[in-house]
């Protein structure tokens, strides 16, 4: 099965954007897209910022096939996400400020307007092994059935959408919101609430 050039273009552009926005390190992060009962995912070891056509592997959602030889170590988590959530695209990135916040809290509740509007709240999920484990396969999809983006403590964000573009947007908004939270903490002045019913964001 060959990848449609239009779909490859999406991988290439979003991968490049993630790297340039410092949301991943040189070989970090991952992207995948659902194609019926298959998924297209970044090849193990490939750099998202420099994707070539043969860096994208197509493999089955349920049944193992030879594609797993080349696929990312996080394939099992991506598969589980597609099986248990409405996701059609998954972005996994390492947004630095959000990772820092995930080390000290159970959820990230934005204080800026855009993230409040789009995300309301981002839960932090804790797992002993930070990649490729059965624990992740269980916990990450369960959280993503409820939230479109979640943080894995100390590791990074998993975000879902109908397109890579949409899933990327949630990561981008989360990192900006996290930087604003951090900056407000550094400034250290009392916050003036400007949102109605803001206490309810924690209940999202």
């Amino acid at each position: 099965m060959n990848l449609d050039p239009e779909i490859f273009r999406q991988f290439q552009e979003i991968g490049r954007d993630l790297y340039e926005a410092s949301l991943i390190s040189s070989h970090g992060g991952n992207l995948s897209l659902r194609l019926g009962d298959k998924l297209a995912i970044k090849r193990r070891g490939a750099m998202l910022g420099r994707l070539q056509l043969d860096d994208i592997v197509i493999t089955g959602l349920d049944k193992p096939d030879s594609g797993v030889v080349l696929a990312s170590t996080e394939l099992v988590v991506h598969r589980a996400i597609y099986r248990r959530t409405p996701a059609l695209a998954v972005v996994h990135a390492h947004p630095r400020t959000a990772i820092a916040l995930s080390l000290s809290r159970e959820e990230i509740v934005p204080i800026d307007n855009e993230a409040s509007y789009f995300l309301h709240k981002v839960p932090v999920v804790a797992a002993e092994f930070a990649s490729g484990s059965g624990e992740l396969e269980e916990k990450v999809p369960a959280a993503l059935a409820q939230y479109k983006i979640i943080m894995l403590r100390g590791h990074g964000a998993f975000s879902i959408g109908q397109t890579l573009d949409e899933a990327f947007q949630w990561v981008s908004i989360l990192e900006e919101a996290s930087q604003i939270i951090a900056a407000a903490k550094v400034i250290g002045e009392p916050l003036v609430e400007y949102r109605k019913m803001s206490d309810a964001y924690k209940r999202w």
Binding site: L35, D37, T85, Q169
Partner: protein, 592 residues
């Protein structure tokens, strides 16, 4: 049982028996309400192989747990039945006020069985439900019957017009005069039962599991509705007709029975033209901040509409550019109780047969003056109208040119040429009620960029998006909400407001799985009715005749490639039959 009223009213017109049954909570959890509950009840009550116009067919009117709650657009309700036009399972939904009033009368659903020995209407008031003679109403138009039955602030009327009485297979059921349960011919089923109308009065109070959280989700949803230019500006100002110029721009506005993909006179029938020339004001259904209804006036008449689809069907599809005639033709369809899409599209089919010389006489493309009389003749089943009353597929087959019916499973296609929107083609082909844009609409991702724009000509990967949108539409139709709310408010808000209303936790994923369950149950009904993979197709024109000119030039629908991916992604076999594993996953194993 918060969110639901806990009762189903069951009326047998053959015997006159009226009973109320408790709503099964497990059934409500699995299928929610509206379309889902209707499909589940039909599964038990109707043999999928029966004649839809026989007394054994039933009508299920259903609201959902969000109906009448004041969540934006929570005014809708559905009717479910076996369609006399397509032979498939059918649901249609409408806005207005009737659904809210029916729920506040204390019921989640109404089952109508049998056939009355004489014309009757059902009245549900504080003193309870009662069947009453309707001989004096039989033959009256929708507007006449609605007025005669006392439509008012606390009393809402749903009825059929002359088309439904005469078993026209494209007849609608109308509520609040001009709201319409339109597609697939539910009006003919109601007519076959000799049930002219259902009148409801109701003011019962609704309880919420978590009123404060409910208010928060409503507030957040309202922000999205206000922020979206589509729901806060385009729809209130131009109505759905705002789409005429947009679809034409993309080369996806079908004209002359889909022989063309652009209409040269689109500007003359656009939302802008409608607003400038005929709009009196915009109005809203109950609890709707969007307010897309058009209150319009011509030199001779005043009424509601037309919607985009109606402008297209009675306009571009027929090559008609006289907007005043289109506006009045829409009034006429409402008055007689006809589905405007199928009416216009069936007339367009007749026009192509005249163009080809297949039939010697009849309406011609561009002949605006032919519309009113043709529409009346359909509703009265007179002359050529009697043939057109059977819908375009039966009409075209009768004359030996089935390819001229632009329909899927017998339901006339709406106003989007799928050659310029590949995903829309797959959506039409696989729709459980036939050619329809409301079983999920690829207009959002393929043209409007909602939630994000995808290449409209891309084929690979489209099946997954179509499946997701179909599941989402089935969930929204089960809540029951308006699809326009979903143009700005995502499914995660609906899951949370459902939780706040009922107290039963529902995640976004679970809500979409409910939609998938409904979709699969409908599929099982159709398979039992005799439909196969061969019915998941499109008219040959869309598969074989490339668009001749414009932005979609050279394209046909690449259906087979998408269909393979669609079946596999849905967990169906190569024949389009849900696998045992998929049915088990959805809790439908007993329905195999």
């Amino acid at each position: 049982m918060l969110g639901w009223m806990g009762q189903i009213l069951d009326v047998n017109l053959s015997t006159g028996a009226i009973e109320a049954h408790p709503l099964d909570l497990e059934m409500a959890r699995q299928f929610v309400g509206g379309r889902g509950l209707g499909a589940r009840l039909l599964w038990d009550l109707v043999d999928p192989r029966l004649d839809p116009l026989s007394p054994d067919n039933v009508l299920v009117f259903a609201t959902g747990p969000l109906t009448a709650t004041a969540f934006p657009t929570s005014n809708r309700f559905t009717v479910s039945t076996k369609s006399p036009l397509t032979g498939t399972i059918l649901d249609a939904n409408a806005g207005g006020f009737w659904g809210m009033r029916f729920k506040r009368a204390g019921y989640d659903a109404l089952i109508v069985r049998g056939r009355a020995p004489r014309p009757m209407y059902l009245e549900i008031t504080r003193t309870g439900p009662a069947l009453k003679p309707a001989d004096h109403l039989w033959g009256k138009t929708v507007f006449e019957a609605t007025a005669a039955l006392g439509q008012g602030r606390a009393r809402n009327v749903l009825c059929i017009g002359p088309a439904g009485e005469r078993l026209v297979r494209i007849a609608a059921i109308m509520n609040d005069a001009s709201r319409s349960l339109a597609r697939g011919g539910p009006g003919a089923v109601m007519g076959s039962k000799q049930l002219k109308a259902i009148v409801v009065e109701g003011d019962q109070h609704l309880e919420f599991a978590d009123r404060e959280y409910f208010k928060f989700v409503v507030y957040e949803s309202s922000k999205h509705l206000k922020a979206s230019p589509l729901t806060s500006q385009a729809l209130p100002r131009f109505g759905t007709a705002a789409l005429v110029n947009i679809l034409n721009l993309f080369g996806a506005l079908p004209a002359r029975n889909f022989q063309l993909s652009q209409f040269a006179d689109a500007e003359q029938i656009s939302g802008e033209a409608l607003t400038d020339q005929f709009l009196v004001k915009n109005t809203a259904c109950w609890a709707c901040p969007i307010a897309c209804i058009r209150q319009t006036r011509t030199a001779r008449r005043e009424g509601e509409g037309p919607e985009y689809e109606s402008i297209w069907a009675l306009g571009a599809a027929c090559g008609v550019s006289d907007l005043e005639t289109i506006v009045e033709a829409n009034y006429l369809c409402n008055e007689l109780g006809l589905d405007t899409i199928s009416t216009g599209a069936t007339i367009a089919c007749a026009m192509e047969l005249v163009q080809r010389g297949t039939i010697p006489d009849g309406p011609r493309f561009g002949q605006a003056e032919a519309l009113p009389d043709t529409i009346r003749s359909i509703a009265r089943r007179e002359g050529l109208g009697d043939e057109l009353a059977e819908g375009s597929r039966r009409f075209a087959e009768r004359h030996g040119v089935p390819e001229c019916s632009m329909s899927v499973k017998g339901l006339e296609l709406p106003a989007y040429d799928p050659r310029g929107m590949q995903g829309q083609g797959l959506l039409y082909a696989t729709s459980n009620r036939g050619g329809c844009h409301l079983r999920g609409n690829m207009l959002g991702p393929e043209l409007l960029g909602l939630p994000k724009r995808i290449n409209r000509f891309q084929v690979q990967g489209k099946a997954s998006i179509v499946s997701l949108h179909q599941n989402s539409a089935a969930a929204i139709d089960s809540l029951v909400l308006c699809k326009f709310c979903n143009l700005a408010v995502a499914e995660e808000f609906f899951a949370r407001v459902l939780t706040a209303t009922t107290g039963i936790h529902c995640s976004t994923g679970e809500l979409l799985q409910i939609g998938e369950r409904v979709w699969n149950l409908e599929r099982l009904f159709n398979l039992r009715a005799g439909f196969t993979r061969a019915d998941d197709t499109l008219p040959p024109r869309l598969l074989q005749e490339p668009v001749a000119d414009g932005p979609s030039k050279g394209w046909v629908v690449h259906l087979e490639e998408m269909l393979e991916e669609y079946y596999r992604g849905r967990g169906w076999d190569r024949d389009g039959v849900p696998t045992p594993e998929k049915l088990h996953e959805l809790g439908l194993s007993k329905r195999r």
